[in-house]
Subunit: 285 residues, 2 copies
């Protein structure tokens, strides 16, 4: 069943927050939406595109009386926003976020939130290199995947309501434990961002390569154009999985270098063949 919210507070009026506001309004899922931000220009833009009904620079005041609070700030600021709104949340309020790393945020909530917990972490896997409320789209979450926190200590009704929220705006919801989320996302998204950064950086350091790039380079460096502060925060909030994953990658590269150094055609065949199978096993295309 479609969820309905009387008063929604969206903290952080960027691409994800504004798109959520637009999606809720387009589907008639919310009566009134307040947008909270720190920059008046962003708040004005969120109002102008119709993502929110009013704006505020005071998260705590805006969260009072809300039955849904969605924290859409960068990952590193979510914990502070949780502390800010927790004292004013009503017993009926459901709270979630959109950060790309979940262990830090959900761990903080687990330590500080009343039990059973009505903050349930989310990671909608949507977005683009564009940012800011002016790029908000009511269909941003359509056909996307949203990973929603699972585990002990959560209020079951709140968990279902958060899942219903994302389903209602078009996402397919999967439940996942925060630690496993961060370990897997490090491999599928966070470390690939570091690698994309490395490809672009080392190519540019090497000389003028503009004439020598093909589609592979374009595809593999596209996400290097993402916002530095977003990925800085993701690295900082997913520290252990990032360090483990980078170590794995270093070992993988060492095996490749060894095969090349020794001219070992069989080993190279095996490495590329495993990759070929792995690509097919992980992507339905």
């Amino acid at each position: 069943m479609e969820p309905h919210f009387e008063r929604v507070t969206i903290i952080g009026a960027g691409l994800l927050g504004a798109s959520l506001g637009l999606a809720l309004k387009a589907r008639g899922l919310a009566d009134y939406i307040v947008g909270v931000g720190r920059r008046p220009a962003s708040l004005d833009a969120a109002l102008r595109v119709g993502a929110v009904d009013s704006v505020s620079m005071d998260a705590r005041a805006a969260a009072e009386g809300a039955d849904l609070i969605v924290i859409c700030t960068p990952a590193a600021l979510v914990e502070r926003q949780l502390d800010e709104v927790r004292p004013v949340c009503s017993a009926q309020a459901v709270v979630t976020d959109v950060a790309s790393t979940k262990q830090a945020v959900c761990g903080h909530a687990a330590r500080t939130w009343p039990s059973p917990r009505r903050f349930v972490g989310s990671h909608p896997m949507a977005g683009s290199e564009k940012f800011g409320p002016e790029h908000g789209r009511a269909d941003l979450y359509e056909n996307s995947v949203c990973l929603v926190e699972s585990g002990a200590g959560l209020d079951e009704e709140a968990r279902q309501r958060v899942a219903a929220l994302w389903t209602a705006v078009g996402a397919t919801v999967f439940e996942i434990d925060p630690a496993r989320h961060d370990a897997l996302l490090a491999r599928t998204s966070h470390i690939p961002h570091v690698l994309a950064a490395g490809i672009a950086t080392l190519a540019a350091r090497h000389g003028d390569v503009r004439r020598m790039i093909g589609q592979g380079y374009r595809d593999m460096t596209r996400i290097a154009a993402s916002r530095p502060e977003v990925w800085r925060d993701i690295c900082l909030t997913n520290r252990n999985a990032m360090l483990d994953g980078i170590r794995e990658f270093q070992e993988y590269l060492a095996a490749f270098a060894r095969a090349i150094e020794e001219g070992d055609a069989g080993a190279l065949d095996a490495l590329f063949s495993e990759a070929n199978r792995a690509r097919r096993a992980t992507v339905d295309e």
Copy 2:
């Protein structure tokens, strides 16, 4: 001025060879094209799609009397084909190849070919994950870049004729020294392939990630679906640049890991910001 060839021999009837045959025919640039291969099924397919006028399994016989010979075999087989056709090349014949690495092939030709050399290496940066003559397309080289060997010892008329060939089928030609070609391509293409392989391999080894992949993973692993034997050969024929480039990448990852380990937000900002600028400096989009 458009070049014209009376008799073209294309050795290797795969995607690149068949597409070249189709492109020459579509533009009326060749009177007669012979396709050479080792597998009857591929030769039949090349004939069927109209990429060649006749087929042969004997490269030497097919090359005799040709005024253009294009070696379209995998990189590791080009040197052998050069040895095969060299004794029968007429004084007027122009010879080129399409291998993605150039130092091994061009170095071999420099050591074995009569001077001034009428073998001039090419690297048309076109193709796809598809392969085989049945995927050949007359427009494969349109709007692509083709890197053509430059340097001492080349026959100037042959060099111009090879450049004119690729220009005539729609490519933009840039000249480049083979050593510099391999060093740059290692950074823009060959090492990115190894990294794409690593992303897919390590993600699949880590567990079932199918539900947790986004557009970044799709883009960054697309080339992991390439043919293992092609990339094995590229690694083997671009050994030194690959080893240097992988070592650079290891150092880059170590710097990233250090910044994460130390929680150094400033260092992470600087790394991602440099990548952002590097992406914009290397890709016109």
